[in-house]
């Protein structure tokens, strides 16, 4: 990387804000999807939006691609550095700037963790609803990039439903405000398309988020079933009875084992557990919860535990939220996939996955948001065994095709990132991808903002007059100009 460029970058951030030491850069070469690695040429850690603007402008001037990164917890390689590019880390922009309880809004910097917002407003009886399992560490900026959901998105929606406005730096370095604390800002809903765009359109420097008041009552049920099918039937019965729980989670035998070993939630030793949670006004919850209990019983629940207090409830959720990372205890390595299947197609897809497990010889654990059909198959492997890592990747890919074939989606929460680009062409046609990429061309005609992610083949946005300059995506080796 151009030394003069690095000097200019160093001048933008305070001393200690630019990382160029090789052994330091190593630690930024992947997010939580560890089998994808790339060393950035530099990492810069700004503290203000103005600094982010200056950095982006410098990058644009030099044709250097950049990748934004929160706390590096992404599971699709969205923060994977780009060759000959830099990483812009937002971990130091971590202040909660304003909390407006009467209007149920808060303004936060992108490096604030998801759970921190809830902790901060908890004394007022409020919380921030989207609750991905990594909420203790994942950043709001990252949540916005991935449109993160979490166990409670069945009732409460995703990040896009809880972010009212952002301040963002565009790839040309300009600062824009999309949406805001007041609803219905006139014009195109650019915020709606920015959320979930996986850091490819802009860098968020501030977010106005919606807070909710804690519901009057929360009732949580942990039901054990002798089979996944029985648990699935219980879910269908609940929906068919017109009940929309706040959350419905399912775990299978292998993941129950792992969670038990990790955090000892005292789950029943069985083939499937269902966690069903209802929340709302006490009158409503009490009545509906009784119905849920009898439906579960009717579907053959072998054990039923109702959380009697907050500690019990937290214990149950701890078991669920620790499930992924806990797999590290039962397997040397694992590959977590993220596919979505229409709920009505779940039994069929789960059957295919069981068959695949038997064929492939790799154990596959399953944790999923049963309420909305979002699966997280955990494919266990040992990278010390030659070829097994690639095999696991193949198996993960095959599961995605089952999801597509069942009319689902290749990613419910983790994003496409680098990991699932090739499957985009299975899920969408060329015209579909072309339409989406028009948005990218509007935001980032020079293709310098997290290039190479999401789309299998970038759409080059038209000729730039003047002497030929290689497109950053070309330089990164990701596309060819014909």
């Amino acid at each position: 990387m151009n030394h003069a460029f690095l000097l200019e970058l160093a001048r933008v951030v305070a001393p200690g804000g630019l990382i160029t030491e090789a052994s330091d850069l190593l630690t930024y070469e992947s997010d939580a999807l560890v089998h994808l690695r790339a060393t950035p040429d530099a990492v810069v850690l700004p503290r203000t939006a103005a600094q982010v603007q200056q950095i982006v402008k410098l990058c644009r001037r030099e044709g250097v691609p950049f990748v934004a990164r929160g706390h590096g917890t992404g599971l699709s390689g969205g923060a994977l550095p780009v060759k000959n590019g830099i990483v812009i880390g937002l971990s130091r922009m971590n202040r909660i700037l304003d909390v407006d309880i009467p209007n149920l809004r808060a303004v936060v910097e992108p490096g604030v963790t998801n759970l921190e917002i809830t902790k901060h407003v908890a004394p007022f009886g409020c919380y921030y609803a989207p609750d991905p399992s990594s909420q203790v560490v994942c950043s709001i900026g990252g949540n916005i990039a991935e449109n993160s959901g979490g166990a409670h998105c069945l009732k409460y929606g995703f990040t896009v439903h809880h972010v009212l406005g952002v301040e963002a730096v565009l790839p040309d370095g300009e600062l824009v405000h999309l949406g805001g604390p007041v609803l219905d800002t006139p014009g195109l809903d650019l915020l709606g398309v920015l959320v979930g765009s996986e850091g490819t359109l802009a860098i968020v420097t501030k977010a106005t988020v919606r807070l909710l008041r804690r519901p009057e009552k929360v009732s949580t049920l942990l039901a054990g079933f002798r089979s996944i099918d029985a648990a699935g039937e219980a879910v269908s019965a609940i929906i068919a009875n017109g009940i929309v729980p706040a959350a419905v989670e399912m775990m299978d035998r292998l993941t129950i084992e792992a969670a038990e070993a990790a955090v000892h939630p005292n789950f029943p030793k069985t083939d499937a557990v269902l966690i069903v949670e209802l929340d709302g006004p006490e009158s409503e919850v009490d009545e509906l919860f009784g119905v849920v209990e009898s439906l579960c019983q009717g579907c053959g629940a072998s054990t039923m535990e109702v959380a009697r207090d907050q500690t019990q409830r937290e214990r149950i959720w701890k078991g669920r939220k620790a499930a992924f990372a806990a797999m590290g205890r039962v397997s040397p390595n694992y590959y977590v996939q993220d596919g979505v299947v229409p709920r009505t197609k779940l039994p069929e897809v789960l059957r295919r996955i069981r068959e695949l497990e038997a064929r492939s010889g790799l154990r596959i654990g399953n944790v999923f948001h049963a309420g909305d059909g979002n699966l997280h198959p955990l494919i266990c492997y040992d990278e010390a065994v030659p070829g097994q890592a690639e095999h696991a990747e193949q198996v993960a890919g095959e599961i995605l095709t089952y999801c597509i074939e069942a009319g689902g989606a290749i990613t419910g929460e983790h994003g496409v990132g680098m990991d699932k680009r090739t499957y985009m062409a299975q899920m969408f046609g060329a015209d579909d991808l072309d339409a989406m990429q028009r948005v990218r061309c509007a935001f980032d005609p020079s293709g310098s903002c997290n290039p190479g992610k999401v789309f299998p083949t970038p759409r080059l946005c038209g000729e730039v007059p003047g002497p030929y300059r290689p497109h950053p995506v070309e330089q990164a080796g990701l596309a060819e100009r014909f």
Binding site: I19, E21, A22, S23, D24, L26, T27, Y28, S30, D31, A32, V34, V43, L45, H71, G72, T73, G89, S91, R92, N94, G111, T113, L115, E116, S134, V136, V137, C138, A261, A262, V263, A322, F324, A325, A326, M327, G328, R329, P332, N333, Y334
Partner: protein, 429 residues
């Protein structure tokens, strides 16, 4: 197969421990150095990644990397947070040892560390400092003068223990019988800094143990447990101290070996690891380690208190010393013990899982970061509005005391056993 770079060769056998890390990042928000510095290299995940890179031969130890390992406080909050069960303690200890063996620190650093390790583990050398301490305490009242001193020296002055406490230090009797029915026979580790500068704490410990039915044996020929050395990567020294301590207690045949300093207790409980490569000592070390208990652990395990408590109307902020809470998993017992005293209200402190910045010699070698953490801890405690602060580690007592003084406030800080002792004897603290 990749070969480890030479400086990381000693970590290669620990690769299975390194591989347990799945890079999830759950440790980041609880790691004080990541919270303060906000960069990956100063997080447990980043440090483990660097270790892995070293073992894979992708990198070698360099000054920058050493800096990132030096910012690790060894507080073990990451172990508590990790869902995959990564044992970070052996990894960081081995890495620190590797650094001491393969890396040459700048001369000033080396001299300072040499000095610390010449002094701190030797109570006989610490004792004569009691007199100059009085002078140092006075010096603290003149911030103008202090500002003229170099940072490390200024820091030492700020952290120095209270001279009056030091002057009243007595030697613990070799044998103290149980009061009333004997429930347990225990050995007592008198410590180094604790013995000299917090003699009151040792006295209170013995009294409370005795009152609760313990015969307390405190061999006079005991020295340092080696915790400070171990946590600073001086593994050879640590093992030497450990052997001496094990030898001092083996003849006593006690049921449990009691320690009232969290840092020491955690180190002693891991003696098995320390001697894993030494076939002669491995067993003896493990046997010793299995008997080690923090004083709050053993008192809590004895069950119903034998000695009646007198009422003390106090708002107590209990500070979890990292080496007790995270490293040993002992959190509830000290709280339960305080609750046996009628009139005591435990006020919860926010961010209780984040280190105060003491961390062994951390606050001596990384004064700026330690000060940031100390300030943070002091303000969290102040918010809870306690009458008194109780903890289980002398380092924490010094660090938090200094932080409050720096904020222009003064709060009484005592060891948990001192409150118990006052309640049992019916005296004022």
């Amino acid at each position: 197969m990749s070969t480890p770079s030479p400086s990381f060769a000693s970590l290669a056998p620990l690769e299975p421990l390194i591989d347990k890390c799945v890079h999830c990042g759950f440790c980041l928000p609880t790691c004080p150095s990541y919270v303060v510095l906000g960069q990956e290299m100063d997080s447990p995940r980043g440090r483990i990644y660097a270790m892995k890179a070293g073992v894979d031969g992708r990198t070698t130890i360099n000054a920058g990397m050493v800096g990132h390992f030096d910012t690790c406080l060894g507080c073990m909050a990451c172990e508590t947070a990790c869902p995959s069960g990564v044992r970070y303690a052996p990894l960081i200890e081995e890495t620190r040892a590797a650094i001491e063996h393969h890396h040459r620190r700048p001369i000033a650093d080396r001299i300072f560390r040499r000095l610390l390790f010449w002094l701190l583990p030797y109570p006989r050398r610490l004792r004569p400092l009691a007199k100059p301490l009085a002078f140092v305490n006075v010096l603290r009242r003149y911030p103008g003068l202090l500002a003229l001193m170099p940072l490390k020296l200024r820091n030492l002055v700020a952290l120095a223990p209270d001279a009056t406490r030091a002057r009243t230090a007595r030697i613990t009797p070799e044998s103290t019988p149980a009061t009333g029915a004997q429930r347990l026979r225990v050995g007592f580790v008198t410590g180094c800094v604790q013995r000299v500068f917090f003699g009151d704490v040792n006295d209170a410990t013995v009294r409370v143990l005795s009152a609760e039915g313990c015969d307390v044996l405190a061999p006079t020929q005991q020295g340092c447990c080696g915790a400070l050395a171990l946590h600073a990567g001086r593994d050879g020294e640590a093992r030497a101290f450990a052997r001496e301590l094990i030898r001092a207690f083996e003849p006593t045949g006690v049921d449990a070996i009691i320690v009232n300093a969290a840092g020491c207790g955690s180190s002693m409980k891991s003696y098995g690891d320390l001697f894993r490569n030494d076939p002669d000592w491995a067993n003896r070390a493990r046997t010793f380690a299995a008997k080690v208990r923090d004083v709050t652990e053993v008192l809590s395990a004895l069950g119903t208190p034998q000695a009646p408590r007198n009422r003390m109307d106090l708002r107590v902020a209990y500070h979890d010393a990292c080496h007790l809470g995270h490293a040993q998993g002992v959190r509830q017992q000290p709280r339960d013990l305080l609750k046996t005293i009628p009139g005591v209200t435990l006020v919860p402190v926010a961010e209780s899982d984040i280190c105060c910045g003491s961390a062994g010699i951390f606050n001596l070698v990384q004064p700026e970061m330690a000060a940031t953490l100390g300030q943070r801890k002091a303000s969290m405690i102040a918010e809870a509005q306690p009458d008194i602060i109780a903890t289980t580690n002398p380092g924490c007592m010094l660090q938090i005391g200094a932080a409050f003084r720096a904020a222009g406030q003064d709060r009484p800080i005592v060891h948990v056993v001192e409150i118990l002792d006052a309640s049992i004897r019916g005296v004022e603290l």
